[in-house]
Amino acid sequence: MSVRIHSYDVNREFTMGHPVDYTRRSDLQNVDHVFKAEITNTVNLTEHEKLFHIRILDPTERDRFHFHPGQFVMVVLPGYGEVPISISSSNSQRGHIELCIRKAGLVTDVLHRAAPGSHIGLRGPFGTSFPVERMRGKDVLLIAGGLGIAPLRAPIFYITERLGDYGKVSILYGARTPKDLLFDYQYEAWRRIYNVHLDIIVQEPDETWTGKVGMITALLEGMEIDPDNTFAIVCGPPVMFKFVCARLQEMGIAMQNMFVSLERRMHCGMGKCCRCNVGSTYTCLDGPVFDYWSVINQKEAI
């Protein structure tokens, strides 16, 4: 007599009880699958930030790739590593995304050296998104500090592409110096869009600066809002969104109607490595987009 334990081949398993959905719950076969993509173009924004135009190579994969504003992708450079980057473009362009990337570590350094035409990998999209659907019919405040304009661009595009569905839309943007202002070539376009109010401020002006000077919260002073009818999306460093959200709270907006995006170290994007753990949650699964109520209720989120 003898026993042979039968082998179980996970490679032959097609679903795990969840519907196959490449954008959120991944198919088992595709958990670590990397989309091949091409850097089609790069735009120098500042000395440290570059905008990468990226297109998924395979037409079927390109068609399948869909994201919601606020989600992020893992940019994969085989042999170098992976980094989580918020998608910074309109989700109406299927399979084409733009990523605004600051040179800050090994992978982003290498990316900055990569020439247009190079191939990179993408995993995702991952994480929660700004509830732009729920904001229909309401006024929206889109507020960014510094590099926060990168994740904010996705909801800006989403909303400005559907202005008829929204009430008053305001884009407020603050940076430390005029040199740190990103996407300056787009301001004129945003300014001219029907029913969109754009306001920009810097903390430390240089001799060429003729605009407003001060903290981002200064742009909210004297602003007339209908608090029960206004949603806010606030992107920027924790110290910035803390002050902005406190001000918005004073203006009467409910904390559940304000949304912020958190940044943490990530190795998987799938709620497994725990590196992006904040309080009791993971930034990659329950975030990066959180409503402000959830943020103040998580230890060490701010």
Partner: protein, 346 residues
């Protein structure tokens, strides 16, 4: 659940049958401490005699047979201005013999993260599905506090689970796979006397569970004592060496690194078990560290084990084996830390 009894000599035959064609991992004595206490580890065995089922607790948990310390997630081969990705999930079947209830509970908790949530892990699933679990009841291990966490008893999560009732084993069968394996040896139906002996055996084990840790209100307590000096006290002792997470049956945090071949022709994406106590756990590109001190990091190990996990899955991640406490050179252990938090009266 199906229950049977088998004789002890038939259990030995059963192990031999399995060994003929499959790998078996079982508790083995690997050495002794200076005071003569035996040291056990889960290791591959070649014969029944190499097993020591009368072990109290292994030094390392069996986690590593499901979540290896190092694992290759993808292999890249470069060429033609691009790369090819190769992913392998295949695993050879094997059996783990002699897991105690707490260690099986640990697997059930890992299942919740690795299989039942979003993005199930195929690497984990391949190992889990290909491992037959033959568990075993045992007297309390000495430093464990599993009874306080309800992980000393078990209703599922195994193929076979054995309880010593004198001359025979009382066997709970929880899978068809387990039943087919067990059917290789003569089985007896459970008699009234067997039932009585089983209940007595279980009660005798439970009576010996003397270590009590108050864990019921721990999630709230951890929130209320977040800024307590208790963390300074224990944090200042922490060596940030990660030993606790390595031996823990549930700690699953990891880091990913690329390992490139010297000729730059291929590379692998390698996962390595990490620990939230290690200094770079929450450090981001640019150098900012969200958990810069030992105190922060140690606190978060407890916070994740007893609050974060509890919020997500309505149960703590800790199974109360106290392997972390046993292995910690600085003497940091959950019963003492939790007692300190209890006395803190925030």
């Amino acid at each position: 659940m199906l229950y049977k009894t088998i004789t002890k000599s038939d259990f030995e035959h059963l192990i031999d049958f399995i060994l003929e064609q499959n790998e078996i991992i079982a508790p083995r004595k690997v050495g002794e401490k200076p005071d003569g206490t035996p040291i056990h580890q889960f290791l591959p065995i070649e014969a029944f005699s190499e097993m020591d089922l009368d072990y109290s607790k292994t030094e390392y948990s069996a986690k590593t047979y499901f979540l290896p310390f190092r694992e290759n997630l993808s292999t890249w081969s470069f060429g033609d201005g691009g790369w090819k990705q190769d992913i392998q999930y295949r695993q050879k079947p094997r059996a783990i013999i002699g897991l105690h209830a707490c260690d099986i509970h640990a697997l059930l908790k890992l299942d919740k993260v690795m299989l039942k949530g979003p993005f199930p892990s195929p690497y984990y699933k391949a190992r889990r599905e290909n491992t037959v679990i033959i568990g075993m009841d045992h007297e309390p291990c000495g430093s464990g506090f599993c009874a306080s966490l309800g992980t000393d008893i078990l209703t599922h999560g195994f193929d076979l689970f054995l309880t010593d009732i004198g001359d025979r084993y009382f066997v709970a069968v929880d899978s068809d796979r387990g039943f087919r394996i067990l059917s290789q040896v003569p089985l007896a139906e459970v008699t009234d006397e067997d039932r009585r002996r089983y209940v007595r055996a279980r009660a005798a084990i439970s009576e010996k569970q003397t270590i009590k840790v108050h864990t019921r209100n721990l999630p709230t307590l951890l929130d209320l004592t977040f800024n307590s000096a208790v963390w300074e006290k224990w944090g200042s002792k922490c060596l940030s060496c990660g030993a606790c997470a390595m031996v823990c049956p549930t700690c699953y945090c990891y880091g990913v690194k690329e390992r490139v071949c010297m000729d730059l022709a291929s590379a692998s994406k390698v996962k390595q078990l990490h620990s939230c106590n290690l200094v770079d756990f929450a450090e981001v590109a640019g150098g900012h560290n969200f958990r810069p001190t030992r105190e922060h990091r140690l606190k978060y190990r407890y916070y994740h084990q007893h609050r974060g996990f509890a919020e997500a899955y309505d149960e703590p991640m800790c199974v109360g084996c106290n392997r972390c406490g046993d292995t910690c050179l600085a003497g940091i252990n959950p019963p003492d830390v939790i007692a300190d938090l209890e006395q803190e009266n925030p």
